[in-house]
Amino acid sequence: MPQRPRRVSLLTILAITATSLVGCSTPGAAEDGDVDLTMAIWSANEDHLALFDAIADDYLADHDEVDSITFETITNQDYIAGLTTRMAGGNVPDLAWIPEANAPEFIESGVLADLTDTFTDTEGYDVEDLLPSATALWEKGGDLYAYPFSNSPFALYVNRDILEAAGQPDVGALVGTDDYTWDTIADIAAAVTASTGDTGLVIPSFSPTTWDNLTPLWASWGASPWTEDAASCTFTDPEMTDFLSWFQAQTARGAVSAVTTAAQNPVFATGDVAFSVAQLSASGALDDTFGWDFLPLPAGPKGEQGVIGQAGIGVVAKSAHVDAATDFLAYFTNAANSEKLATYFPPSRESLLNVSTLSAAAPKLSEEQIQSAIIDVVPDAIVKSSSPVYSKVTSLVSSALDPVWSGGDVGDATAAVCAVAQPVLGR
């Protein structure tokens, strides 16, 4: 009776004994002939997938050597954990989306293949068109290791109905004046909370474990978690401590929504939130049930500072089909397809950074909004701080910084952050 389970367990024990003592295994060798490409992505949006599939189908029609191209969503809340877990066991995708903060980690550990030659050799690819500010993060020694397909500035979403109901001024009119600052926004937010009970300012992507999603705010304080070479912790610098103290004070008076775990943040689209810091794509969830505005980020003590959220696509060096994958990437991101992708992902090509391309991407935004909050911002914008040891350092920072979110002493917490982060950064 127990025949089948027994046979299975014998197989299992043999296989486990055989492999588990070896340590790591090599990925399955390439079968010659049929090439099946896989791109690991984090979007599960059906519209995105439909567009990707359409581009892939066009490519397959002209390329007999490639049998199929699959876009695989890794929906793990922690994309990097999901991706690296897969790669760890040799289940390697041929191409993968990489978040900006992990860029140096992937590039310096040799996980990604060099794209430069294929891109320059591909006819009509026009490497010159790529914005240097966008590709900087994805280069090493002058070579390009991933294509920054999404180059999306953060902006301030404003619920005009709430402001009006609370008797507050139209914030849109302040843009460009000296009054358009985070302090002004915070004052209005606090007044809104006090008068209507709505939530003031929300940073939807921020939670204690995703602490660096406060970059759009602290950038205009001139603050950063570590130096540009990612070698020294700068949490204890006055820029950062000033910002954190400001943030604490705003949370305490209700201007900024209380710090929550990831799934608890109030949602701007419900119409109960006055201000939200988010990217272009968040406009997709908005309709005309309430009046809203899309504005550039306000100024902090160090003036205005645009901030971009970036994502790159790289070819995994361990892939069995590096050449085919690189060739497909050159097609996927050429000028024509970048324009299609621009519907969802603001492009990093100079030729596409114009109102008409972006209007197609976000039809709910006016030309003025696109010009002032996107096109004017992109050239001088910065990205989140990245590090070759990002995966290791981020959880250390997160745990040491946590006391700040519940009102703890900023000086003590930031000192603790640098105490644990510096040894890892300095390695």
């Binding site: 127990p2 389970p5 027994r6 367990s9 014998l10 299992t12 024990i13 486990i16 004994t17 588990s20 003592l21 340590g23 790591c24 922690d78 990097i80 954990a81 690296t84 877990t85 790669m87 760890a88 066991g89 550990s109 040799g110 996980v111 939530t199 204690p208 474990t209 929504s257 209380a258 710090v259 929550t260 775990t261 990831a262 799934a263 608890q264 109030p266 361990k318 995966s391 290791k392 959880s395 250390l396 997160s398 745990s399 040491a400 946590d402 006391p403 979110w405 519940s406 703890g408 644990v420």
Partner: protein, 307 residues
């Protein structure tokens, strides 16, 4: 109760003449289970010990023997001590709260009242609700603007961000976990309570024992074997908790809920250090083994009727 029957059967020598058959058939009875446990428990654990002596970064594929370096690093790692502390508080909190609450509920339910089985079903119902759904719901209820704070506000109490405040996060997760699982032990205790012979209690009452005395002098000792087993299983369970931590706090705030299994997961799958994570795994096993042994050894001191 048939415990008498069972005891007799257990102590009866196994009948030889029934064992005359092929010994391979007899081994075949246990083979699937034993082979399964060897393949999925013992062999992997031996592999974990080996891994823990290596530095292994799966992303790049580097795998180097480093001896006990991972262990020396572990004992110099502040986060490891944070994690030990969290696991300890978490385990103690769960075991104490769970057992005490389970006993109280079992005593409450051990009354002949109309509709008592409805309450029994209420207390037991979270056991059949998945821990995932349970955690998702509590995540909303414990949010700064959530139901718990809203209710407290009606009484003029200013609630906190229960899951983001280092002072309350661990306690909150413990309470969530206890409400989820206490029904299991409650039912075991209830069955044990109902197995306590009425005559013994009667005799104690005639000797002038009040209800409190009666409980501590008669009832508790009578059900102590159940309490011991429930205690051991709850201890092991509390040290393996993963899902509510991942869904509610991700080990934060300030590592206060960074229990060892979550620290292991973070180290292995987020930070890509399989060797170091394996060392954490070995330590976790030693802790569980030690605690279980300690509880088992202590049984002679307080467990009644051990055979």
């Amino acid at each position: 109760m048939s415990s008498a029957v069972r005891t007799r059967a257990a102590t009866r020598p196994i009948r030889r003449h029934l064992d005359r058959g092929d010994r391979w058939i007899r081994l075949a009875f246990v083979a699937p289970q034993v082979i399964g446990v060897l393949a999925l428990g013992v062999v992997p654990f031996v592999a974990v010990i080996w891994y823990s002596l290596n530095e292994w970064t799966p992303l790049t594929g580097s795998f180097d023997f480093v001896g006990i370096d991972n262990y020396t690093r572990l004992f110099g790692d502040q986060r490891f001590f944070n994690s030990l502390r969290s696991s300890f508080l978490f385990g103690v909190g769960i075991v104490v709260l769970n057992l005490v609450l389970a006993l109280c509920l079992a005593l409450l339910l051990n009354n002949r009242l109309r509709g008592i089985s409805t309450f029994r079903a209420f207390f037991f119902s979270p056991v059949v609700v998945s821990i995932i759904a349970w955690s998702i719901v509590w995540n909303f209820l414990l949010a700064p603007e959530g139901g718990v704070n809203g209710t407290l506000a009606m009484f003029g109490i200013d609630g906190t961000g229960w899951l983001t405040d280092p002072a309350t996060a661990l306690g909150s997760v413990v309470v969530i976990q206890v409400f989820k699982g206490v029904g299991m032990n409650m039912v075991l205790f209830l069955a044990a309570l109902q197995g306590v012979p009425g005559e013994i209690k009667e005799a104690a009452r005639l000797d002038g024992a009040g209800p409190v005395r009666l409980f501590f002098a008669v009832t508790l000792p009578m059900i102590s074997p159940t309490v011991l087993l429930a205690g051991i299983l709850t201890t092991i369970g509390s040290l393996e908790v993963f899902a509510p931590i991942q869904l509610l706090t991700k080990g934060g705030p300030a590592d206060t809920t960074l229990v060892l299994p979550y620290f292991l997961y973070q180290t292995a799958f987020q930070q890509q250090e399989f060797g170091y994570a394996s060392a954490i795994g070995v330590v976790l096993f030693i802790i569980i083994l030690g605690l279980t042994m300690a509880q088992w050894m202590s049984r002679k001191k307080w467990v009644n009727d051990e055979n």
